[in-house]
Symmetry: C2
């Protein structure tokens, strides 16, 4: 029951954790992302065809490739194991960047496949398949990148079991600066530095900030938003893995950022800002911080209500 | 610089923790509370004059009485140590009820004193003094009862240091049923059963529910509110201290409660409900649960946007 023979989808980069929302918050940004083309085929194809600047760095074996694993999960769970599809991935996003690179590949893949099949599933129901892609990429089937990559905008994951995903509209003036330094930090390495148990005092602070962050977004209260952007779980241990982090953050705050932290598991740094002009200045401030640590970097500035995965070609 | 010679204030009962907001959320209810009268005096007075149904159960020594300690803290911190005031406490609320009994005494005391002095401090700035009353009452200077008792309504405590308190307006249809069984559970006993460290998985769930609870309140999304009302920190260990808890909760949910949990550190049980009629039925269901455990109980039904501490007499 297919509608098209070949579909190409684009999924955006994402910022996960958002300082006070470890594993439960994330949002899509504009400016970079991955493309996946799914093609109806007559024969099984164990290979993902790779292109783009970072295509040569990832496995082409479909069972080890994040897009391939996500597509396999979709086909298996929907009883479409008999379907033969070819996969091409244009890998535009660097690995281990903290900008949801693997999530973008997974999201684009399942979105394109679902569209090819006539969109039998709603976008939100594609998330579990894309999470399987995350599992193979980083050892943890977290949703805080794939959910915003698919749905767009800001997403809160209330529960993983059952999956309970809530889209959170953001104030229009809310922008994000993301700066990606040219070093790789593997998500499972970044996970390894985490503590397994957290003190009651820190749990109370973490949940208070997560709660007040949501209040701040709903009220467009940028001052409260900034006060809420603290992470007791991951940032205190991960910042040491990112050269220049402290200077970059100080620069961001000096340039007017509402708050600043690690994007996903790093090494990218994000900052929330009121307005695009401030976000540009903040991005440059962060870039300057990395520069002092002898790191080149790329910057991205995006509104927070950014689109999720889209179809860019179907025939 | 006093404006009055004698002031009496009434502070309401409160529900703290609210299932997903351990130590960070609380709200005021109508129907019961404590009264404190502060009288300008010529000589030092080391005694708190006690009345009301539970007055005989608490210390009259001003340095051990929660209202006395709160007043002492106020006088000391505001440089009014020279002032002599007499204190009378009408103790209407049972101790160890989980309904903010000690907080009501502290809140009424500092509110009355501040009014007596011509209201030099804003209500929100009285919270730290009332917290000192909590410290002597239960060994922990928590704010999730005293803040809503003073301010009224629903309160989120984003941070304890510095104190950062956010008032959260609730949907008008949101009501609370609170049922107090006739057993005493001391707050420091209830704190003793808590774990000191929490697993990362539970921290993630706790902060996700705290965040989505705030979203649900802002959207008047009662379904999400119910899904968010889970506590991983205290309830799993405290319910065993409350006979009849499980049946009472099941009854509450059957009667249409949005969600149900322990009020403060218990043994009272609270439930959030859509509308007053449902809340009445839910309260009776909880009462029935306690009754099956051979416990008599009192019930209270209140809107969530309830008043805080008020002056009932000044001359």
């Amino acid at each position: 029951m297919t509608t098209y023979k070949q579909v190409t989808a684009f999924a955006p980069a994402t910022v996960a954790n958002v300082s006070c929302g470890f594993d439960i918050m994330g949002f899509a940004i504009t400016g970079t992302g991955d493309k996946v083309t799914v093609t109806l085929s007559d024969s099984p194809d164990p290979v993902v065809y790779l292109s783009g600047p970072y295509g040569h760095l990832i496995p082409s074996d479909r069972d080890k490739n994040t897009a391939g694993v996500a597509v396999n999960a979709y086909l298996k769970e929907t009883g479409n194991n008999h379907l033969r599809v070819g996969l091409s991935l244009e890998k535009n996003m660097p690995l281990g960047s903290g900008m949801g690179s693997s999530a973008a590949s997974s999201a684009a893949a399942v979105f394109a496949l679902n569209y090819l099949l006539g969109s039998p599933l709603k976008t939100i129901d594609l998330i579990p398949f894309a999470m399987e892609g995350e599992r193979v990429a980083c050892g943890s089937a977290h949703a805080d990148n794939v959910a915003p990559a698919l749905l767009g905008g800001f997403v809160l994951i209330r529960s993983y079991s059952p999956l309970d995903i809530i889209s959170i509209p953001c104030p229009d003036e809310l922008y994000c600066a993301v700066v990606h330094p040219h070093i790789e930090l593997k998500t499972n390495d970044a996970r390894r530095v985490l503590k397994s148990d957290i003190s009651m005092a820190d749990v109370i602070k973490q949940s208070a900030n997560a709660a007040s962050f949501m209040v701040a977004i709903a009220r467009a209260d940028f001052d409260l938003l900034g006060r809420s952007m603290h992470d007791l779980l991951a940032e205190p241990r991960r910042t040491q893995l990112i050269p220049g982090f402290e200077i970059a953050r100080q620069n961001a705050l000096k340039a007017g950022a509402v708050g600043c932290g690690i994007s996903g598991s790093g090494p990218s740094i994000f900052a929330l800002c009121k307005g695009k002009t401030v976000a540009m200045a903040v991005a440059e401030g962060i870039q300057q911080g990395f520069s002092e640590a002898q790191l080149e970097s790329d910057l991205f500035v995006s509104a927070l209500n950014a689109p999720g995965t889209i179809i860019i070609q179907a025939n």
